[in-house]
């Protein structure tokens, strides 16, 4: 085969796999951080304290109204000008977390608002405070509802981490760029990268599909 050079593939597989691991690591860190941060953002957006609501809404709108690529560049290249210097991994994590939390907070909000009024009434009538009801009654149901949607966002995130190549995180795309600059084996290198992405995101998408079926089937006793 002329385009795909097996020798090059074998020789570069190691560094590319290391790049993929960096991609996965970046994704997992951002998933954990944004799951927590987005929930705080969602709750802040529903606060009775108006200034907090406005702050949260402005943040969400700015994040959704500007490109992720620009946000990455901003955190890594612009912040140092005001004295905030971050290594590339931290910058990537911060930009991705801020961006994804804006979207995920809306997902959480939709989930929380999807819980029927009667659940709040029942919790309140049993003497639960708002915080306790949120923690024990509303959120467990809301999270279950939004689980598949969150999953889809995280598959998107996994692919969006490729943008971090612009802040020189050694993830898989940036790794391929460096290798290609040396040996010009674009077809081989980028094909492998594509396969690597697909090899992760396809099973992940199937898993989300499974989650969707489980969450739609309602709450039932496990039959043993």
């Amino acid at each position: 085969m002329e385009l795909f050079n097996l020798e090059v593939a074998v020789a570069n597989f190691g560094p590319l796999l290391a790049g993929l691991l960096m991609t996965v690591e970046l994704t997992l860190v951002v998933i954990v951080l944004s799951l927590v941060f987005a929930l705080l953002v969602a709750l802040g957006g529903m606060s009775r304290f108006a200034p907090l609501r406005w702050l949260v809404k402005s943040y969400v709108e700015v994040m959704r109204g500007t490109p992720l690529l620009l946000q990455l560049i901003y955190v890594y290249y612009v912040l140092p000008e005001i004295g905030i210097r971050l290594d590339s991994f931290t910058a990537g994590v911060i930009a991705l977390t801020l961006n994804y939390s804006a979207y995920l907070s809306e997902v959480y909000r939709a989930g929380i608002q999807a819980i029927a009024r009667g659940q709040h009434d029942a919790a309140a009538a049993l003497g639960m405070t708002g915080v306790l009801a949120m923690r024990r009654i509303i959120l467990p149901q809301a999270v279950r509802i939004v689980l598949p949607t969150l999953g889809n966002y995280f598959i998107g995130l996994f692919k969006d981490t490729a943008l971090c190549s612009v802040v020189s995180i050694q993830e898989v795309v940036f790794t391929a760029q460096i290798l290609a600059a040396r040996n010009f084996q674009y077809f081989t290198l980028y094909t492998i990268v594509g396969i690597m992405y697909f090899a992760v995101s396809f099973p992940a998408a199937r898993f989300v599909g499974y989650l969707e079926r489980v969450t739609k089937s309602g709450y039932r006793r496990k039959r043993s």
Partner: protein, 263 residues
């Protein structure tokens, strides 16, 4: 029991001059009502007469603009100083709600918890009861409502009548001083109504203080110690079941009863 028994006992729920609007709609136009310990008061009346709103105000699920609510002698939810309301803290409001059980038309069981989970949730997390104690009490209560075998089922796996019985048990698990029932059989298939009413009858027989908004005239007649007829946000007539159903004084009561009993 006859009327005079109640006069000697203290009121568990006392309502004075309660007013409530939804927008421009005046839903409650000055309600005065006292429910004595051990009494079963049934509220009947056409849809939109304010019956459910009254019940929801008693549990502070709706907030009345004017009026006072006392639960077991204590002024609930807010103080009134010189015509100005000072709401109690959220914690104090929740503490009062915890003393009054409420059962809803649509059950409102927590779908993500098992039946027993529904029963122990508030005793454990609101009252701080040890989990094992709450479980034992929960199992007792399930047996009492005839669902001893359903502890580990999820609400969705039960019929409407079973779910409503769980909801009653859930409210009882808090050892409430009084129980509010908000049209609890209205969402049920006709053949499932009886099992819920039976549980409520038993509860009344055990001396539970109950305020029951209902369309079940037979229940009101047989179980009620007093029946209240509400219309357009006012209490039109209140009397013993015999007199309300046998010889209503007010024309509006007569018209209403004629319509519902002819069905």
């Amino acid at each position: 029991m006859n009327d005079s028994d109640y006069l000697a006992r203290p009121p568990m729920i006392e309502i004075e001059g309660l007013h409530k609007h939804f927008g421009t709609h005046h839903v409650l136009k000055g309600i005065d009502l006292a429910v004595t310990v051990g009494e079963v008061v049934c509220i009947i009346g056409p849809s939109g007469s304010g019956k459910s709103t009254l019940l929801r105000c008693i549990n502070h699920l709706e907030i009345a603009e004017r009026g006072r609510i006392r639960i077991d002698g204590q002024l609930a939810y807010r103080d009134e100083v010189g015509g100005v309301f000072r709401p109690h803290s959220n914690r104090a409001i929740s503490a009062v709600r915890a003393q009054v059980g409420m059962v809803f038309q649509h059950f409102n069981l927590f779908p993500h918890l098992t039946v027993l989970g529904n029963l122990i949730e508030a005793p454990v997390h609101v009252l701080g009861k040890p989990k094992e104690m709450a479980r034992q009490r929960g199992i007792e209560l399930l047996a009492q409502v005839g669902l001893g075998d359903k502890a580990n089922a999820y609400p969705e796996e039960l019929s409407g009548g079973q779910q409503q019985r769980v909801a009653i048990a859930r409210a009882l698990a808090m050892d409430p001083k009084a129980m509010l029932f908000d049209e609890v059989t209205s969402a049920l298939d006709p053949e499932l109504v009886a099992e819920v009413l039976t549980v409520m009858r038993d509860l009344a027989a055990q001396g539970m203080t109950m305020l029951v908004v209902t369309h079940e005239m037979n229940f009101a007649r047989q179980v009620g110690s007093r029946v209240i007829f509400m219309d357009h946000g006012l209490i039109v007539e209140e009397d013993t079941p015999d007199r309300i159903f046998g010889a209503p004084r007010e024309p509006r009561t007569r018209d209403f009863l004629r319509t519902v009993l002819e069905r």
